[in-house]
Symmetry: C2
Subunit: 341 residues, 2 copies
Amino acid sequence: MAKVPRASTGRLDRHPTLEDVAAGAGVSRALVSIVMRAVPGASEATRHRVLAVAEELGYHPDARARLLAGRRTRLLGVTLALNNPFHADVAEGVYAAAEPLGYQVVLSAVTHARTPAQAIETLLSYRCEAVLLVGPLVTRKALGALGERLPVVVVGQPTPYPGVDVVRAADAVGMRLAVDHLVELGHRRIVHADGGRAPGSAVRRKSYRAAMAVHGLIDDIRVLAGGEREEDGAASARTLVGEGLPDAVITYNDRSAVGLLDVFARSGIAVPGAVSVVGYDDSQVARLPYLRLTTVSQDIPTLAELAVGRAVARVENEPVAERELVLAPHLVIRGTTAAGA
Amino acid sequence: MAKVPRASTGRLDRHPTLEDVAAGAGVSRALVSIVMRAVPGASEATRHRVLAVAEELGYHPDARARLLAGRRTRLLGVTLALNNPFHADVAEGVYAAAEPLGYQVVLSAVTHARTPAQAIETLLSYRCEAVLLVGPLVTRKALGALGERLPVVVVGQPTPYPGVDVVRAADAVGMRLAVDHLVELGHRRIVHADGGRAPGSAVRRKSYRAAMAVHGLIDDIRVLAGGEREEDGAASARTLVGEGLPDAVITYNDRSAVGLLDVFARSGIAVPGAVSVVGYDDSQVARLPYLRLTTVSQDIPTLAELAVGRAVARVENEPVAERELVLAPHLVIRGTTAAGA
DNA sequence: TTGAAAGCGCTAACAT
DNA sequence: ATGTTAGCGCTTTCAA
């Protein structure tokens, strides 16, 4: 034992194990385990010696064995679509929130060639203790079955299935903030370029209508059929340019706003001079210095933190008051909104 | 055995194991293992019965145990920065290329709170057989040490360390294509908004100069100090608007081009009427219908496929001719370039 | 503080 | 075609 043969390439044939370190330091495996996990139970002297040997041997703990042997895995699974900025931001937030709680995160991507079901299956195979689902990945039925097996937190949107937790921002409030802001600036003809069939689009559309009604602007309600991509916003802009500009536009999300702004710019339409624009999400793009998009922020880091908190609470069997955790979004006023002429 | 106690919540207390399935089907664990891995060695009848029991019990294989017990893990690790479109595209490509070869991929994100070293450490702890590094994540020294431990493929840029493989596109060729195209259109005053300290920026800058020289345009060489973000391109645009427009601009990447185009649009400058613009990467944004950015494509899916191929070749000890695999980029001509006045 | 021993759930030789 | 038997590298009681 503790003999580490080398391949002809000069690369190690196998990774050193606890056993190797134990032998090198003249102690038992159990003691090395204690030292490596930095838990109490070893003298300072031993600790130092073991650490030195480990370092010298190039020992790196084996996650497979660690996970398998431990009573718990303390693993949090996250499914996400790469290339989706919102998902990416949530994942970053999850990493940040999980570590202080002693949980590790496992990422599983949903791609063109990898279904949500596969992504989830991978997470389960690693024995994650809970999964966070970002975006509208799975069918209701699949969600139900999943929720029966382990704690599930859906991040960013409501779901009708009662067996899973939800952490999201209140779209009704967000739309209300946007409309309030624009009305305060003196705008009345406020149109909404909606998200089409995108997740949450229906809620935001409805919320827009309600907010307009509150201000007695029922006759000014106008919804343009759109989508979640830049091009959808661009299309809406073209429509508006063709038929005459409203006072302001609220888009389904920031991406849509970007396309809309671009077409406005190319058409020589000043924003916010001729028309005000409000986006949704406060994603990175909204903060770009040359865009300075006024937008409704979902406060993604907090969203992620609460989602992790909820997952951990479920895993650790802490009492949970509400299945759904709804954050109040806030309006970030930047440079695309101003008082009308 | 094969007794699956339930928690008061109704959730399974533990996952069913091979043992449980074996007991249920009245066969040995080894046989169930054979069935679950879909390898030959079991009769059709047994196969069906085992599968049925597994299904009924809700059995899902344990990746930890599988990975630990197997002779190999067939795991490919990928470090990436979420929120970087190039990284995301590469990761998608890696998933697509790895599966047909029988390899699974493990993602490890580099975030604000998670260093490249940590991301790599995680990958190693799972005993990935090779790692793909996207972007300029690590120091030369760390790279060297890593390359000694297992096959490493750096994706998307050159690296001076000889112990690792590199799969990237030829920046010199890309720049040359861009300049050739613009010269053919009759442009001479072609400036380059560079990437500042971004990875690969120096190479592209140098390549731009060389390409200009080839066309006898040494006196027209002009490099604007920039960066990799949209705002950097926007800044370059402001400079150009202030001092008078050149015939064309080649940016370090598509993101920079986006910022540049935006400022041009707001300044009432027609593209490609008054000035042509060429981006770099052919990321998703370049294809946006309202942008239609002419750009140099690195062909990311192929890049990813070759990177996976190289990693697998190393893992399986196949002979490898060149340490560096350099793809020929190609120019994607869209709507931001046209003949000058 | 330290060590011995029993698994964790699986794969892989080797028998039968 | 099927079963038996060792591990894989670690954590975790339980003793000492």
